[in-house]
């Protein structure tokens, strides 16, 4: 998986370069899908590679191209190149998302090289929205990235990227102007770049801890000693409120970073005839959690705080994640408020009240290092 932070950093270029190298080494490699975007330098990199024919799908009178997954399966190469993993397929393509096609190839024993940008990672969706102001619709579930055998960061400086954009290498001029006003603002790009660098480092860190069962002596970091013998178990309290989606994504991320188990739990009252809307909303959230490979549970009861704490106790949960209440719904008396009741009843369990927006206050003073 080649990971980048914006269009034009050189993911496809780098991936094709790699393909050329593997081909020279005698590997049976084909290009299952390639998106040229009219970039001359990138197109030149496909020279000599076997390009699979794409599938043409007519959608509302427009002929669109998708990867012909069936044809790749028949051809059965050792390695298949698939550009733009996060792409959403045209209706009528068989599968909704390109990453689902990639899963099919992997299941058939075909190795895949693909690429995506950091903003397409599902659990970072809210964070990316806070940085860019753009809600990214095409997302890839985190577990897919976790299961990748290799992750390589394709870096470029933001200066180089903005130059490429201005030279018209990345987009046509009118699109480029729009891009500069949205995603391609310098501060946005810098933040996304940092996010991608940290994410790749994190992925390496996770692989370093899980790959080698016995860590070679002398290379363990001080942090690893502290965490020994503690495996965290995180409970995400899912309500009907839309903020639950944010909480689920954060919970997923936290669980990944802390190598923790993770549950999403909703509480529905016994008699919920009048409240079916709420139960439906909870179920939708839990379904979303399951898509991110989080175990889910529905509890029946009248008192959410009691139910949650009880469940947490009997399942050895170490951290409970709650949404930060909105000002309007915030009870003045602390005793009546869900959070404080859970805090009080949870006793030995950590309670984390998660900020909805990570619109951070950046340091204005110089910090000592």
């Amino acid at each position: 998986m080649f990971l980048g932070y914006a269009a034009g950093v050189g993911k496809t270029y780098r991936m094709l370069e790699e393909a050329q190298r593997l081909k020279r080494q005698g590997e049976d490699i084909v290009v299952g899908y390639f998106e040229p975007h009219g970039r001359k330098d990138t197109i030149a990199r496909t020279a000599g590679l076997e390009m699979m024919a794409t599938k043409t799908i007519n959608y509302r009178g427009v002929a669109l191209q998708e990867m012909d997954t069936g044809a790749v399966l028949v051809r059965r190469p050792a390695i298949c190149i698939v550009d733009e993993l996060a792409h959403t397929n045209v209706p009528g393509s068989g599968r909704q998302k390109r990453w689902e096609d990639v899963q099919v190839l992997l299941d058939a024993g075909i190795n895949v090289m693909s690429n995506m940008n950091i903003q397409h990672l599902e659990s970072l969706n809210d964070h990316v929205f806070d940085i860019t102001g753009v809600r990214v619709r095409e997302t890839v579930p985190d577990w897919l990235i976790k299961s990748a055998a290799e992750i390589v960061m394709v870096d470029a400086t933001t200066e180089a990227l903005l130059n490429r954009l201005k030279r018209g290498v990345i987009y046509a001029p009118e699109t480029a102007q729009r891009a500069i006003e949205n995603f391609f603002r310098e501060s946005t790009l810098v933040a996304l770049r940092e996010l991608a660098l940290r994410e790749t480092a994190h992925e390496l860190d996770v692989r370093g801890t899980t790959d080698t069962t016995e860590e070679p002596t002398g290379v363990s970091s001080s942090s690893r000693a502290v965490e020994k013998g503690t495996r965290d178990r995180i409970l995400i309290y899912v309500s009907a409120d839309p903020s639950s989606a944010i909480l689920i994504r954060r919970g997923r991320r936290m669980a990944d970073y802390l190598c923790a188990d993770c549950f999403a739990v909703g509480v529905v009252p016994y008699r919920n005839n009048r409240l079916t809307g709420r139960a439906d909303a909870i179920e939708t959230h839990l379904k979303f959690a399951r898509n991110l490979h989080i175990e889910t549970r529905i509890l029946q009861g009248e008192d959410p705080s009691e139910m949650i704490v009880q469940f947490a106790r009997s399942n050895q949960v170490t951290q409970i994640l709650l949404s930060r209440p909105k000002h309007r719904s915030w009870g003045v008396l602390m005793g009546t408020d869900l959070i404080l009741r859970i805090v009080r009843e949870a006793k030995d369990i950590r309670v984390i009240i998660v900020a909805e927006h990570r619109r951070l206050h950046h340091p204005s003073a110089v910090r000592g290092s």
Partner: protein, 366 residues
């Protein structure tokens, strides 16, 4: 999204910006390709960039090369002009005078960390580069992580080795305009590291993976500083930062050992900063003072950046600090005992949760 607190810059900011721009205008620009090992493809990326720039009409010249290259790289070299190096007793150095005489727009210099042979005007290659930049020639160069002076200790912790010849911390911090990390899977290194046994191969792979992580994090922190200075120079003081900054609040009333360890761990796992604060109180009893000292001592041992805050209002002091430093997670203890303390702690939690917009509040049982 960042918001402008005011569109006007302070005189200091304006001055800093002007000085920065003047320096940029006079000097050549320095771009560095940073790798975590030899064979990750730094030279290729640098020379390929040289090739593309030349295609676009820039005057690009190669001034220093490594002794050997894979065939892909040789192909690019064919397309580039070269200024031969000087050779003294089999050792090479850049022909600085010839480069200055030729005065290209861009000089490609592979291997920034080289030591020049005795008798050369500059002892180190980075000094040659500095001289070229002063002459207004832009330089694109490559360097391996282990040659950066400030990373010596961390690299040694990972590899057990220390290189003798390093580039001083100040040089890159002050002069590099752009740093790009060249990442590659250790399996795809161009020159395969030779291992004597499967076990040592595993150890090598692990070391490489740690070095790789370090390179990415170093680049991330450079980028973080770049973001900060960008925001400051544009009069912006708020942003969606990326780096996690963890704050643990300790009190004189309970042993914070577990909370501190947990904060340290979060900071490590999220590759973030670790801060500890205490809001000063008067008239502490002897046991309270001891607990506090113990907490702060342990915080120091765990490598926290510690600050003692003044002020009557705990919440306000903590939040003020948190916003100034850009904290993303606040850890605060809550007593499991009943009575007055619970109510006081309850209200601190309550106030923090209300006021700490954009910050996670971690309520830690004590």
């Amino acid at each position: 999204m960042p918001k402008a607190s005011s569109s006007r810059l302070t005189p200091e900011q304006l001055l800093a910006q002007i000085e920065f721009e003047e320096r940029r205008a006079r000097r050549g620009r320095l771009k560095v390709f940073l790798g975590y090992a030899s064979g990750v493809g730094k030279s290729f990326q640098m020379l390929d960039e040289g090739r593309r720039r030349r295609q676009r009409g820039e005057d690009v010249v190669v001034c220093a090369l490594q002794p050997e290259y894979p065939e892909q790289v040789e192909a690019i070299l064919q397309k580039l002009e070269m200024i031969p190096t000087l050779k003294i007793a089999e050792l090479e150095s850049i022909d600085v005078q010839a480069v200055i005489g030729r005065h290209p727009q861009v000089a490609l210099i592979d291997g920034l960390a080289y030591e020049n042979p005795p008798g050369t005007a500059n002892a180190y290659r980075w000094q040659d580069v500095s001289q070229l930049l002063d002459e207004g020639i832009s330089v694109v160069t490559t360097v391996n992580l282990q040659y950066l002076e400030k990373l010596q200790e961390e690299v040694e912790r990972i590899t057990g080795n220390r290189v003798s010849c390093t580039i001083p911390s100040g040089f890159l911090d002050r002069t590099a305009d752009e740093i790009v990390v060249v990442d590659a899977s250790p399996r795809d290194l161009w020159c395969e590291p030779t291992a004597e046994s499967p076990t040592s191969a595993l150890v090598e792979a692990h070391k490489l993976s740690r070095l790789r992580e370090l390179a990415l994090l170093v680049a991330a922190s450079v980028v973080d500083r770049q973001l900060e200075s960008y925001l400051r120079s544009h009069g912006l003081d708020q942003s969606s930062g990326v780096q996690e900054r963890i704050l643990v609040c300790v009190s004189p009333r309970s042993d914070a050992a577990r909370m501190l360890e947990s904060g340290r761990r979060n900071a490590d796992r999220f590759q973030g900063e670790f801060h500890v604060v205490h809001v000063q109180e008067h008239a502490l009893s002897q046991p309270e003072q001891e607990t506090l000292d113990k907490n702060l001592k342990y915080a120091r041992e765990l490598g926290a950046q510690i600050e003692i805050l003044g002020g009557f209002d705990n919440t306000e002091a903590i939040l003020h600090f948190a916003k100034r430093v850009g904290i993303t997670q606040i850890f605060v203890g809550h007593s499991t005992r009943h009575g007055l303390r619970t109510r006081i702690w309850g209200s601190l939690v309550d106030q923090l949760v209300r006021a700490a917009e954009g910050i996670d509040v971690v309520v830690y049982p004590q």
